[in-house]
Symmetry: D2
Subunit: 135 residues, 4 copies
C-alpha cells in the first residue's frame, strides 16, 4: 500500500486554511483507528471471556463508525463548513478516549487490546491537534 | 418493507432511560435522511447546472455519512455512553440544518431539492427532540 | 418518518431501465435490513448467552455493512453500471441468507432473532427480484 | 500514523487459512483506495469542468462504499464465510477497474486523477491476488 492521503490533498486546487500535513495526518489516524476498531471488535468476539468484553465490543463498533464518517467529512473541501468538522472531531475525541480507556483495562492480558488502545490514543491526539488548529 | 426499528427496540432487554418510541423515531428519521441525501447527491450530479450544485452535493454527502453513523450509534444500547450520543446528535443537527438551508435555495426549481429539504428538516427536528430528552 | 425513497426516485430525471417501484422497494428493504442487523448485533451483545451468539453477531455486522453499501450504490443512477449492481446484489443475497439461517436457529428462544430473520428473508427476496429484473 | 492492520491480524487467535500478510495487504489497499475515492470525488466537485466528471464522481462514490464494506468484512474472522468474501472481492475488482478506467481518461490533465487511477489499480491487483488465494 502507498499512502495516498497527502498526495491527494496536495493536488486539491481549493484554498485550505490549515496545514495540509496536519489534515492528512488526522485523516490517516482516523482511518487507521477505524480499521483497528473493526478488527478489535472481531477479535473480542472470538475470545472465551466474551461476556466481559460486551461493552468493549460496543465501544469499538461506535468508534469505528464515528472515525470513518469523520475521515470522510474531513476529506471533503468543497463548500467547507468548519462547525460540522469541529463537532465531529469532538465526537471522535470522546469516542476514542472512551474506547482507549476500555481497551486499557484489558491491555495487560490481551495484546490486541494494547495495540487498539494505542491506535485510539494516537487518533485522539491527532483529532485534538486538528481541533486546536481549527479554533 | 416493514419498519423494524421499533419492534427491534421493544425486544431489547436492557433498561433504556428514554422513551423508546422517540428513540425509534429519531433512528428512522436519520436512516431516511441518509438515503434521501445519497439519492439527492446523485440527482444533482445528473443536472445540467451541476456547477451551481457543487456545494449542495458536498453537503448531501456529509449529511448522509453523519446521519448513518449516528443511526448506528443510537441503535446500540449495550454499555451506553450519553456524551457520545449527544455530541453526534449535535453534529447531525448542524449537518441537517446546513443541508436543508442549501436545498431550500434550489427548492423552487427542483422537486428533488424540495423533498430533500423536508427530509432534512424532519431529521433535524427529531434529533433536537431526542437531544432535549437526553439533557 | 415519511418514506422518501420512492418520491426521490420519481424526481430523478435520468432514464432508468427498470421498474422504479421495484428499485425503491429493494433499497427500502436493504436500509431496513441494515438497521435491523445493527440493532440485532447489539441485542445479542447484551444476552447472557453471548458466547453462543458470536457467529450470529459477526454475520449481523457483515450483513449491515453489505446492505448499506448496496443501498447506496442502487440509489445512484448517474453513469449506471449494471455489472457492479448485480455482483453486489449477489453478495447481499448471500449475506442475508446466511444471516437469516443463523438467526432462525435462535428464533424460538429470542423474539429479536425472529424479527431479524424475517427482515433478512424480506431483503433476500427483494434483492432476488431486482436481480432477476436486471438479467 | 502507524499501520495497525498486520499487528492486529497477528494477534487474532483464530486459525486463518490464508497468508495473513496477503490479507492485511488487501485490507490496507481497500482502505487506502476508499479514502482516495472520497477525496477524488470531492476534488472533481471543485473542478471548473465538473459536468464532464459526473460519471467519474459517481464511480468514485460507489468504489469508496464498496471498498469500505469489503475492508470491514475481510477484517472479521469469527464465523468466517468464504463465499461472501469472494463475491464482495469480485464486486470490488469490478468497481476498482471501472473507476481506474474512468480516472485514466482524465489522468493526463489532472494529477489527482492519475494518483486515483493508480490507487484503484493497486487495489484491483491486491483483491485479485486474495481472490485467487481463496479459490
Amino acid at each position: 500500500m502507498t499512502n495516498v492521503t497527502m498526495p491527494m490533498l496536495e493536488t486539491n486546487p481549493l484554498e485550505i486554511n490549515f496545514d495540509r500535513r496536519q489534515f492528512a495526518s488526522a485523516i490517516d489516524s482516523l482511518i487507521s483507528c477505524s480499521e483497528a476498531r473493526t478488527a478489535s471488535a472481531d477479535t473480542c468476539l472470538s475470545e472465551p471471556m466474551i461476556a466481559e468484553l460486551a461493552k468493549c465490543i460496543r465501544t469499538n463498533l461506535d468508534c469505528a463508525d464515528i472515525c470513518q464518517a469523520t475521515a470522510r467529512v474531513l476529506s471533503r473541501h468543497t463548500g467547507y463548513d468548519a462547525n460540522i468538522s469541529r463537532t465531529l472531531l469532538e465526537a471522535c475525541i470522546m469516542a476514542c478516549k472512551s474506547c482507549a480507556d476500555e481497551c486499557e483495562r484489558h491491555a495487560d492480558l490481551r495484546e490486541h487490546c494494547r495495540i487498539c488502545a494505542q491506535a485510539c490514543r494516537d487518533c485522539e491526539a491527532a483529532c485534538r491537534q486538528l481541533l486546536a488548529a481549527m479554533q
